[in-house]
Assembly symmetry: C2
Homo-oligomer: 386 residues x 2
């Protein structure tokens, strides 16, 4: 179906991802929001959509859209929270896009924020498990990591992928992220370090996992008329896809395929009227090494079973097409759950504008951001073009 | 701003509101969703937006859009949860409207569900308090009821409103709701019973408060093209408003005014290009007697301070214009938090189609639904026309 009107990203803002001991979710959101507003020539949003997962379970705060709008000095405006677990940011962008494309508002702030530190680890782990099926999975003792571990083991067995090949993912992510000034983990690691790090849920080791961190990101989106007034470098939202998959992973046909990624990406490409090979740069959702590898396969950048192997052959780095996760991905840049999808869209926007502060993909014209909620339960794909 | 395309309600469905000992949130949602699909000539939605507040805090389940979509047999489709406390349903409708008006999808299910029973009362009361400001209000011991009690006391003092006048609200609601087959509390009450019921938070008494109950509601909305194919009685969404107010109520200028109701209603009327006096029937958000009275004042149906007095004079009943809460309102029909806003829209749709199963407003052409999150923190207003 044809979209009724075009939508552009006109400004971005975010915080460094860190243990922000002096800031709660509201402070982090306000910081990112006002950076995005400043980056948009100080035009104020007419509505606010905030992606967030744990405001209820960890901060004991609902009515979260009104709360962050108020604390940012933007009260009065339409505001609500969108929740889709770790995919909340991408889903919030999807809703915000619709608010602008529909004509309800002409400038909207799509934000994401998560405050995960300063809580007992057990409480955070429990809250993050809410992304999985409570009645059929979590109730029986599965943690979010253990579900991903089942998939990693099956994947390695089925396709004969080695520990060394899987370790290529986090090593590259840390290499990229080491150049990113707002990344949470700005140091390089080796394959040996990955293979010898502690086991969290066999075969997932500590260095296969994205860190726990606090952060907020925001993008301002606008109608063409407003975008032309605000900026000389509007980035157009050309494709958009959002898809879901069965919650209880045992009910899926193939655990090594994230169907929702395939569907969301297919829908986004169709809307954008481009081929996958046109993508210059992509930010994909690597909560664990295995998820990053599945992402590039299910998006279509690698054959099934070949993701880690192609990476080991040197693919997806600067100079290749596409470049994957120049930000460092969730593994190194960090993964403040409901904010992650918005970080990705902000990063791709900056790559296309040429002002990304870390590893640059020079001359990039088309970029893709893929955000995952749960074990591939909710996936969004956004395609941007300069 | 002109909307880019028109949107119609083409089907509704809901469960009775009750203590559903044998059903959780997923079962309730599926029941309402399939009733709405059946009411829409079995056309399947292309996307699902679900309003809900307590899935994290009470059911320990996030990724809630994907979950309810899956359990209803609708997995694969775009789905996400919208949270705006007790206003989640209205906010979900706002987002769903945008998905259709934008052209992203041509048929969308806007649903709401809440499972509140089968939990310790203290836990439920605590979870509902998440609607208020955690750091400035709840932390200091305020419950959601006590915040509303402060406003009720101030209102009665300031405008010289008596206990007897305030009791008009719940008495009328129970009278209306006694005819509603899916209402939670289908019995009549007297002013004496209200005045002598136990105090929850002075001056709010038990019979001033809406009950705790489980329920789910769904409405199917569609583009004009699809609506014309599905139904002979499409109901058009002519006006829409969503607004927020300061979270910390002590920071407001006047505690007896819910500013967000005024703004949302003003925006909805402007979009609908009608005057308030054209409204034939309204469903308003009466979590407590005081909230119902403030609603009719801030929507503009009564002068400030006159809401309860006009009610005592016999206004807002069948034969008057508008008729307020023929469903029985939150007080009698019930208030399954995130579902309430969708119940209201379903009820107004049925009033305009002429098939509401309870107290009918014959010949109604234009109706309004107002849903409130928190202490007037998030308010949505929807205007429908047959």
């Amino acid at each position: 179906m044809a979209m009724t009107r075009e939508v552009f990203v006109v400004g971005v803002g975010y915080t460094k991802i860190d243990r922000h001991f002096w800031k709660g979710d509201r402070e982090l959101f306000a910081e990112a929001a006002w950076k995005a507003i400043e980056d948009s020539g100080n035009v104020l949003p007419k509505a606010i959509v905030v992606g967030n997962m744990t405001s209820s379970s960890l901060s004991e705060q609902d009515n979260f859209g009104a709360l962050v709008a108020d604390y940012a000095g933007l009260s009065g405006r339409p505001a609500f929270k969108v929740e889709a677990a770790c995919g909340s940011g991408g889903a919030a962008f999807y809703a915000a896009y619709a608010l602008v494309a529909s004509g309800l508002v002409d400038v909207c702030l799509a934000g994401g924020v998560e405050k995960l530190t300063e809580q007992p680890t057990r409480r955070v782990t429990r809250a993050l498990a809410y992304a999985a099926e409570e009645e059929y999975e979590v109730y029986y003792g599965a943690s979010f990591t253990s579900l991903n571990a089942l998939i990693m083991r099956l994947y390695m067995e089925k396709f004969g992928v080695t520990r060394e090949e899987m370790s290529e993912w986090p090593v590259l992510m840390h290499e990229n992220g080491s150049q990113n000034p707002y990344a949470q983990l700005r140091f390089k690691i080796t394959k040996d370090q990955v293979a010898n790090s502690v086991i969290i849920a066999d075969p997932i080791r500590l260095l296969d996992a994205s860190p726990i961190g606090d952060g907020a990101a925001a993008v301002m989106i606008a109608s063409e008329e407003v975008a032309r007034k605000i900026t000389d470098t509007p980035v157009k939202v050309v494709g958009l896809g959002l898809a879901t998959d069965n919650m209880y992973i045992a009910s899926r046909e193939d655990l090594t395929v994230l169907k929702a990624t395939r569907k969301a990406c297919g829908d986004a490409l169709k809307m954008a009227k481009i081929e996958l090979r046109n993508i210059d740069v992509a930010e994909v959702h690597d909560a664990f090494s295995i998820v990053g590898v599945l992402d590039i396969e299910d998006l279509g950048f690698a054959e099934k079973g070949m993701g880690a192997k192609l990476l080991a052959e040197g693919r997806f780095r600067i100079g290749d097409k596409p470049v994957i996760n120049p930000s460092g991905g969730l593994k190194s840049r960090g993964h403040p759950v409901g904010a992650t999808g918005i970080y990705q869209i902000a990063e791709i926007t900056m790559q296309l504008r040429g002002d990304f502060p870390g590893l640059k993909v020079n001359g990039a014209e088309i970029g893709l951001a893929q955000n995952v909620g749960g074990v591939g339960n909710t996936v969004s794909v956004v395609i941007l073009r300069r």
